[in-house]
C-alpha cells in the first residue's frame, strides 16, 4: 500500500500530539479533582515538572533486578505510543492503522500489562508481587468486558478496524442506538479500572491495603519511573481517544489534507477537556471500593456489554 506524504505527516503529528497532550490531560484531571474537593489546584503543567525532575535523576536499581526490570518501562512506553498511534484522534487517515484493529489494540494493552506485572514481581518485594497480582486480577476481568464493548460496536459497523468504525459512525445520519448506550457505560467502567482511577484504585495513594498500580512501580526510579508515569498518562489519553472515537466520533477528519487535521484539533481539545472534567467528577463523587468488590464492578461492566450485544440483536437487527 502506498503511504502518502500527508498521511505520514498526519501520523507523525498525531503521535507527537499524543505525547504532548497526555501529561496535560492528566494534569487537567488533577486540577479538576482539586477544584471539586476545594483544594488549591496544582498547575496544569505539574506532570511535566514531574517528568523533568525524574528524567534528571539517576536510576537506582535493586540488587536482584534482572534485565527484564530495565526493559519493561521501554516496552510499556512503546506499547502506549503504538496504541495512541492507531487510535484515530484527529484523522482516520492513519498509515499505521492497518497494523492493528481493535482486537489487536486490546492485545497491545495486554502486552504492556504483562510486562509491568512481570517487572513488579522481578525484584521480589512483597509489594511488587502484590501489585502485580492485583493488576492481573483487574486485567483479566477488564479485558473480556472491553472486548464485548468492541464487539457491540463492531456489530453495528461490521468491521473491527477502528478507522472504519469512526468513518462509518461519524459520517452518517444520527440514530439512537440503545446498544451503544449500554456499551458506553460498560466502557466507562472498564476505563476507570484500567487507568487505576478511583472506584478501583487511587493513583494518589501509597496505602498498602489499597494500591494496585503504585505498588507495582514502587521500585522504579529516575528515567524508568518517568517513562512509566508518561506511559500511564498516554494510556489515559489512549482510552479517552478510544472512547471518543467509538461513542462521539463527530468532527474527526476523514480526508487527506493537513489543514483538515488542524481544523479537527480544537474539537478534540474541547472533547478532552469535557471528558477530563467528567472523569474528575466521577472520581470525586465515588468512594474507593474494597479490592474484593472490583470483580463485581467489572463483572457488571461485562454484563452491560453483553446486554448491549443482546439488545442490538433484538431491537436493531430485525427485518
Amino acid at each position: 500500500m502506498m503511504i502518502s506524504l500527508s498521511g505520514l505527516l498526519g501520523q507523525i503529528f498525531s503521535i507527537a500530539l499524543a505525547l504532548v497532550l497526555a501529561p496535560l490531560l492528566t494534569g487537567w484531571v488533577g486540577m479538576c479533582r482539586a477544584w471539586l474537593q476545594s483544594r488549591s489546584a496544582p498547575p496544569l503543567l505539574q506532570p511535566y515538572y514531574m517528568l523533568r525532575k525524574l528524567f534528571n535523576k539517576d536510576v537506582v536499581l535493586a540488587h536482584g533486578a534482572s534485565s527484564l526490570f530495565r526493559v519493561a518501562p521501554f516496552v510499556v512506553f512503546g506499547c502506549m505510543v503504538l496504541a495512541c498511534a492507531i487510535i484515530p484522534s484527529l484523522s482516520t487517515n492513519l498509515p499505521l492503522a492497518p497494523a492493528a484493529d481493535a482486537l489487536a489494540l486490546v492485545g497491545v494493552f495486554g502486552l504492556a500489562r504483562v510486562f509491568i506485572a512481570l517487572a513488579a514481581m522481578d525484584i521480589g518485594t512483597s509489594f511488587g508481587t502484590l501489585g502485580g497480582r492485583r493488576e492481573m486480577l483487574i486485567g483479566f476481568l477488564a479485558e473480556p468486558a472491553l472486548l464485548m464493548v468492541i464487539f457491540t460496536v463492531a456489530m453495528i459497523v461490521q468491521s473491527t478496524s477502528i478507522t472504519t468504525i469512526v468513518e462509518t459512525l461519524g459520517h452518517r445520519e444520527l440514530a439512537i442506538h440503545p446498544s451503544l448506550a449500554f456499551a458506553g457505560i460498560a466502557f466507562t467502567f472498564v476505563s476507570l479500572a484500567e487507568n487505576a482511577r478511583v472506584p478501583v484504585d487511587n493513583p494518589a495513594t501509597h496505602l498498602e491495603l489499597t494500591m494496585i498500580h503504585e505498588a507495582m512501580i514502587l521500585e522504579y526510579s529516575g528515567r524508568h519511573l518517568a517513562l512509566i508515569e508518561w506511559a500511564a498518562a498516554l494510556k489515559l489519553y489512549a482510552y479517552s481517544c478510544l472512547g471518543l472515537a467509538l461513542f462521539f466520533p463527530w468532527g474527526i477528519a476523514g480526508g487527506d489534507s493537513f489543514l483538515a487535521l488542524l481544523a479537527a484539533l480544537p474539537l478534540l481539545l474541547l472533547k478532552l477537556v469535557i471528558g477530563g472534567s467528567v472523569l474528575a467528577l466521577i472520581e470525586t463523587v465515588s468512594a474507593k471500593m474494597r479490592i474484593f468488590r472490583a470483580p463485581e464492578f467489572l463483572g457488571t461492566a461485562f454484563l452491560l456489554a453483553v446486554l448491549g450485544l443482546l439488545v442490538r440483536l433484538l431491537l436493531e437487527l430485525k427485518a
Binding site: 440503545p178 463485581e296 457488571t300 454484563l303 446486554l307 439488545v311 433484538l314 436493531e316
Partner: protein, 222 residues
C-alpha cells in the same frame, strides 16, 4: 439497518432498553431506599415510553394509562414504600439469598431466554413497538428473580411492582395497551396490593421482630 427506523420507534426502543437497564440496576442494588428510587425511575421511563406510543398512535386511553403510571408508580407507590421503610425503621442493606454477581449472571441467562422466546411471538404482532416485547418479558423475569432471591419482604414487594411494570410494557408494546377497564383494574389491584402488603409488614414484624420471611416457615398448624 436501524437508520431505517423512524424516530419514535428509536425512542421507544431506547426507553425499553433503559427499563431493562434499570431492572438490572435494581437486581444489583444493595440499599433499600435506593431500590425504591430506582423503581420510581423505572416507572418514569415507562411513563415516557407509553407517552411516546400514545402520541404516535393517537389512542386516547394510552394517555390515561400514561397518566396513571405517572401518578401511581412514580409518585404514590414510591411514597408509600418510603413511608413504610421509615416507619418500620428498616436499615442497612438488602439481603440476597444468592450473592449479587451470581444473581446477575442468572439474570443474563434469563434475558437470553426471554429474547429467544419473544422473537417468534413478536413476529406475529404488527405494532411498531413489537421489538420491545422481548425486553418486557425479560423485565418480568428479572423482577421474578428478584422476588425469589431476596429475604426481606419489602424488596419482594418492589420486585412484584417491577414485574407489573414489565407486564405493562408488554401490553403497550404488543397491542398498544390493554382495554381501559383492565388497566384501571390492574392499577387498583397493584395499589391495594401494596397497601395490604404494607399492613402485612407490620404484622410480620410484630410477630417475628424481623421482616425476614424465612421465619414464616415456622407458621404451621401442628
Amino acid at each position: 439497518m436501524s437508520t431505517a427506523l423512524p424516530l419514535y420507534a428509536q425512542l421507544i426502543n431506547l426507553f425499553a432498553a433503559v427499563i431493562l437497564l434499570l431492572a438490572f440496576a435494581m437486581l444489583a442494588q444493595r440499599r433499600v431506599l435506593l431500590l425504591i428510587d430506582l423503581f420510581a425511575l423505572q416507572g418514569f421511563t415507562l411513563f415516557l415510553s407509553t407517552l411516546v406510543v400514545a402520541v404516535k398512535t393517537g389512542q386516547h386511553h394510552l394517555y390515561w394509562s400514561a397518566g396513571l403510571t405517572l401518578l401511581l408508580k412514580v409518585l404514590l407507590l414510591p411514597w408509600i414504600l418510603h413511608r413504610l421503610v421509615r416507619k418500620l425503621q428498616i436499615k442497612g442493606e438488602v439481603e440476597p439469598l444468592i450473592n449479587i454477581p451470581t444473581t446477575m449472571l442468572v439474570g443474563i441467562g434469563l434475558v437470553i431466554i426471554a429474547f429467544n422466546v419473544a422473537l417468534p411471538i413478536s413476529q406475529l404482532s404488527h405494532t411498531i413497538t413489537r421489538g420491545t416485547l422481548g425486553i418486557a418479558l425479560a423485565v418480568v423475569m428479572l423482577a421474578f428473580l428478584m422476588m425469589i432471591t431476596r429475604k426481606k419482604a419489602i424488596t419482594q414487594v418492589v420486585g412484584f411492582l417491577s414485574m407489573e411494570n414489565g407486564l405493562f410494557l408488554a401490553a403497550t408494546s404488543a397491542t398498544y395497551g390493554m382495554p381501559m377497564v383492565v388497566e384501571l383494574g390492574i392499577a387498583l389491584d397493584v395499589l391495594v396490593g401494596a397497601i395490604i402488603l404494607g399492613v402485612f409488614f407490620f404484622q410480620i414484624r410484630d410477630q417475628f421482630d424481623s421482616l425476614d420471611i424465612h421465619h414464616m416457615e415456622r407458621l404451621k398448624d401442628n
